[in-house]
């Protein structure tokens, strides 16, 4: 009997575990380790953050789902990977710190194949004063989003008493990713302030590390419109201008105080910006898993990049931007160090950013990190599960691939949640990582790269919310719903 262990129950880990379970006979064990015992459909946290949904509408308990489908669940934090076992037993294992047992309650969990899908650590600590425990809001978790919704309610109360309020939304560090999520939040916030009839008392400001609006960490995109290929920066600027949102680009937020933030810009400038409400997403790193060899010597740096993300089959040779290639991107997500070790979703280390890197005169890197959004995370989770299942059946190497340079992404960014007057920006890009050899000029297939704003996008967003929660609950027919 063999055991596949999946670390993390987010989009990537849950998808990998569900497919591994579906494809493996019940004689094999599939185990999920996660410190969070509820599944969270993260994209809908945006609606929690503006008060339109409650946390229970974007989460559900995992234990009953896993019990029904024969997936073992361990409620804990994976802390250490021992890919060679230890002096006493050569079977690889993960050391898991159980949530219920408190500090020091470790479980030794042996595995034949391990999928690391632990997602990001939210690095609020990288900017002084950043985060819900300090001076700004976040929507990364349902709890954070609920705090943001309460802070928004308080700001609205102040506006109802006639006070003007400044809302600052964006990213809280020069190296952040996930600009798309912050973008969704700012346009939803603007819509909500209109719905609550206090918009005229609000000033709304977007602050971002992007070089141009609409970069979203994927070097922007071009779209065909009226005989032209128009960059996403034009559409994003238009969307902001229409809604009276102003913007600061190329910024690294250095410090957040209770009523103001200070930031540095790429041209070397420094400035302060006051606010009454700030929602600033944090930078990400890996969750800090450590690895040890059979003798107990630490080998973390063999398995992980310095930022804590796991090294897989990408090409990590440092190269200048001009020499980056679509071929640098991983295809199978197998660790080069141990063939039974894989990473999926945000947990894998991208070889480099997608957007052109920029550094300020003080040496601060102000460049979005490469995003690994929901659709690629789920597709990678599924591909990794396929490879693991085939390798358990004797395949000598991974059988499935899911390179971000060979897959597209569909993204629907809500811009106001109302079934008749709401809108959303619907976008598809193919491929996510531009491939300038296959698609000279823009790196993308222009027939498959498009975007438009409208109510239809909002309906799609609602449909996706219900469809993906249904799928995650592994209800009848779930495998038919695409990732």
């Amino acid at each position: 009997m063999s055991r596949v262990v999946v670390l993390g129950s987010g989009i990537a880990g849950h998808t990998a575990a569900s497919f591994a379970r579906r494809w493996l006979p019940r004689t094999e064990t599939v185990t999920v380790v996660s410190p969070v015992d509820r599944y969270n459909w993260v994209p809908s946290n945006i609606w929690v953050g503006v008060g339109l949904m409650q946390p229970h509408q974007v989460t559900f308990p995992l234990a009953p789902v896993y019990e029904r489908h024969g997936i073992e669940f361990v409620h804990g934090f994976a802390r250490q990977i021992h890919p060679e076992g230890d002096a006493g037993d050569s079977r690889p294992f993960v050391a898991v710190e159980r949530v219920a047992g408190g500090d020091g309650d470790f479980l030794r969990l042996p595995y034949d194949f391990l999928i690391n899908a632990t997602g990001p650590r939210l690095r609020f600590d990288m900017t002084e004063g950043l985060g819900p425990e300090a001076n700004s809001m976040s929507v990364c978790t349902p709890e954070h989003a609920q705090l943001a919704a309460r802070a928004l309610d308080r700001a609205v109360e102040r506006m109802r008493r006639g006070q003007r309020q400044r809302f600052v939304v964006g990213v809280g560090h020069g190296g952040c990713t996930c600009e798309g999520a912050a973008f969704e939040y700012i346009v939803n916030l603007e819509f909500e302030l209109r719905a609550r009839k206090v918009r005229e008392l609000a000033e709304i400001v977007w602050i971002t590390n992007e070089y141009e609006l609409g970069d979203f960490g994927m070097a922007g995109m071009q779209m065909r419109r009226s005989g032209y290929l128009i960059p996403a920066s034009i559409f994003t600027a238009s969307l902001f201008a229409e809604r009276g949102i102003s913007w600061i680009t190329r910024a690294h937020v250095r410090k957040v105080e209770p009523d103001r933030l200070s930031y540095e810009t790429l041209d070397g400038g420094e400035a302060e910006l006051g606010f009454d409400f700030a929602m600033l997403l944090p930078p990400f790193s890996g969750v800090g898993l450590r690895a040890f060899d059979r003798q107990g010597t630490e080998i973390t740096d063999r398995l992980f990049q310095p930022n804590g993300f796991m090294r897989v089959d990408g090409d990590y040779t440092p190269r200048p931007f001009e020499e980056w290639s679509a071929r640098d991107w991983p295809r199978t997500y197998q660790s080069p160090a141990y063939p039974n070790l894989f990473a999926a979703g945000i947990a894998f280390a991208p070889p480099h950013p997608i957007s052109r890197p920029h550094t300020s005169p003080r040496g601060t890197v102000i460049t979005p990190a490469a995003p690994r959004t929901g659709m690629p995370s789920a597709q990678i989770g599924r591909a990794v599960a396929r490879s693991v299942v085939d390798m358990l059946r004797g395949a000598p190497r991974p059988t499935a691939t899911a390179s971000m340079a060979e897959m597209g992404a569909a993204c629907v960014a809500s811009a106001g949640a109302n079934p008749f007057s709401g809108t959303a920006a619907s976008m598809t890009v193919y491929p996510v990582v531009p491939d300038y050899e296959r698609y000279p000029g823009y790196g993308r297939d222009m027939k498959r790269t498009f975007g438009e704003i409208g109510l239809a996008g909002h309906w799609i967003k609602i449909l996706l919310h219900h469809m993906f929660i249904y799928k995650a609950k592994l209800r009848p027919g779930w495998p038919l719903i695409p990732e």
Binding site: S238, E242, S246, W247, L273, G454, A456, E483
Partner: protein
């Protein structure tokens, strides 16, 4: 809160491309959006299929 800091809208904002009234109208015009709903779903499905 004291409104410290720069008055943010920069010169860029003045030169932005804005949608026509017709474009804005179409964004929430139900028959047109029902059609777009079908088209966008098909486009996205095509994208997903391409990978699978």
């Amino acid at each position: 809160m004291p409104n410290r800091g720069p008055a943010v809208p920069d010169e860029e904002a003045a030169s932005v491309t804005l949608p026509t009234r017709w474009t804005v109208f179409l964004r929430t015009f139900l028959p047109w959006q029902a059609w777009r709903f079908l088209r966008i779903n098909l486009k996205m499905l095509g994208m997903v299929r391409r990978h699978h």
